[in-house]
């Protein structure tokens, strides 16, 4: 017990008894916020060694900063308690001490009772929980990002509506589309091109071209289905119905050709394409049980793929039904009837451009 000179009129016996009773709680009495510490117990001294070590009596405000703030003084004067947390360095340790200051009962001279407790362990726990929850938050964010990445990947191999059905029910059902148009694009003389012998360059070229194709078909309300080597398959009217499917595909086809023409004008590698278009029915479905791919099959795909080899470079061929659906909106040239394997006699048209003569 480190006793400092006691002020007159304070019930020291009572205070002493309190101090003695509580060995773990630090207790002290100060002569006001800016007054000296008058007396304190061992526990208090253990937390604030400076109290015993300092030459002159330490003031309360030296130990608990902020005690002399007007708002705090006002509260104390009104008889209310003031609580604070003080960080002190004890050797290498940093301690957090919870301090409670209240007017000493029954004394109007402004003496203050100070109780304090070492709450470092609690604080450490609190910080640890903080740290942990931040880690978990971060992990959740990372997981959400990962999920998004996976979703983007899946949306690359199947249309959104099919993906949503698959996510919700775990399966997707094959669907027949009577009103859809299919486009199959292939490059002419691909195997003879010198770039075919430079795989990294070839992949870079195809990547660049197909990325632009994707942008174009999407812009025209079509869906890229897949690339097969250097071939590119797109459709409109599936899986979402679209009454404009034939026009969408025809316009996209013209734009694909124009894109290649422009690219060829400035690129060292020249790509010539052939495009076959058909509006016959197709089936759409996710295939594969291990590797999921949304794909389409059926007459539409077959006819488009038979028309495409009949093209000259940078030409677009249409089947009868697509031509009919375009209803004269885009200029076409009739190429007459031809026998096509699996389809018999088919009237074929070449897509030229818009009726005004310019390309879209």
């Amino acid at each position: 017990m480190a006793a400092k000179p006691a002020p007159k009129g304070l019930d020291l016996d009572r205070v002493r008894a309190l101090l003695l009773d509580s060995a773990t709680v630090g207790l002290a009495v100060a002569a006001g916020a800016e007054g000296p510490i008058l007396l304190c117990n061992d526990a208090f001294q253990a937390l604030f060694p400076a109290v015993a070590e300092a030459e002159a009596a330490l003031r309360l405000v030296d130990i608990v900063p902020g005690t002399a703030d007007p708002a705090v003084l006002e509260r104390l004067a009104a008889g209310d308690r003031h609580t604070a947390e003080v960080e002190v360095k004890l050797g290498r340790r940093r301690l957090v001490i919870a301090v409670e200051i209240s007017p000493a009962i029954g004394h109007a001279d402004g003496e203050l009772m100070i109780q304090c407790q070492n709450v470092s362990k609690l604080k450490e726990l609190e910080y640890m929980i903080d740290s942990y929850s931040k880690m978990i938050e971060r992990q959740n964010r990372d997981l959400a990002k990962e999920k998004e990445r996976v979703e983007r990947l899946l949306l690359n191999i199947m249309p959104r509506r099919v993906y949503e059905e698959w996510r919700e029910f775990g399966i997707t059902t094959p669907e027949r589309f009577d009103d859809a148009t299919v486009l199959l694009l292939d490059f002419v003389g691909f195997t003879e091109m010198s770039v075919a012998h430079d795989p990294p360059k070839l992949i870079a070229e195809l990547n660049d071209i197909f990325t632009s194709f994707d942008r174009i078909v999407e812009e025209f309300g079509c869906e890229r289905l897949k690339t097969i080597g250097d071939a590119y398959l797109a459709a409109s009217g599936l899986p979402e119905p679209n009454p404009e499917h034939a026009r969408n595909i025809a316009r996209a086809a013209l734009r694909l050709v124009r894109y290649l023409e422009r690219r060829n004008a400035i690129s060292e590698v020249r790509w010539n394409c052939r495009i076959g278009i058909s509006s016959k029915p197709v089936i759409g479905s996710v295939v594969g049980t291990q590797k999921y791919v949304y794909d389409i099959f059926g007459p539409g795909v077959n006819l488009a793929s038979r028309l495409e080899p009949l093209c000259g470079p940078m030409q677009i061929l249409l089947d009868d039904r697509t031509h009919e659906l375009l209803a004269g909106e885009l200029a076409c040239a009739s190429l007459g009837s031809q026998t096509i394997r699996g389809f018999g006699e088919q009237h074929i048209y070449r897509l030229e451009g818009t009726t005004s003569g310019e390309r879209p």
Binding site: R92, R94, L125, Y127, M128, S131, M135, I136, Q139
Partner: protein
């Protein structure tokens, strides 16, 4: 369980003459954050830190081999004291050893 390990490890690091200087001017929340991440990271907890981030976090701290070894020793001691199986302690030690090159710069 893991919280007791973290706090007990934190105490040991602060009591270590070798390690304390490294954390001399680090605030308590940051220090606890380090020990929490440190342990979570090495024991397969929810910490995900890339090797590059770990290297960056320690780049200018002048951590030497002795400090690393001390950290490693204290961690093993803490884990053993909290009743982890020797095999599990070993696998944590393998995790920490794998990162020595990212942390030790002197």
């Amino acid at each position: 369980m893991i919280s007791r390990i973290v706090l007990s490890f934190y105490d040991r690091v602060l009591d270590s003459d070798v390690l304390a200087p490294y954390f001399e001017h680090v605030d308590m929340p940051v220090l606890i954050d380090h020990q929490t991440k440190f342990i979570a990271y090495l024991t397969g907890g929810p910490a995900s830190i890339s090797d590059e981030a770990l290297r960056l976090a320690h780049a200018n701290r002048g951590i030497d081999r002795a400090a690393f070894e001390e950290m490693r020793r204290l961690l093993a001691e803490t884990l053993e004291e909290h009743g982890l199986e020797p095999a599990d302690v070993d696998s944590v030690m393998a995790e920490i050893d794998r990162r020595a090159g990212l942390v030790v710069t002197r």
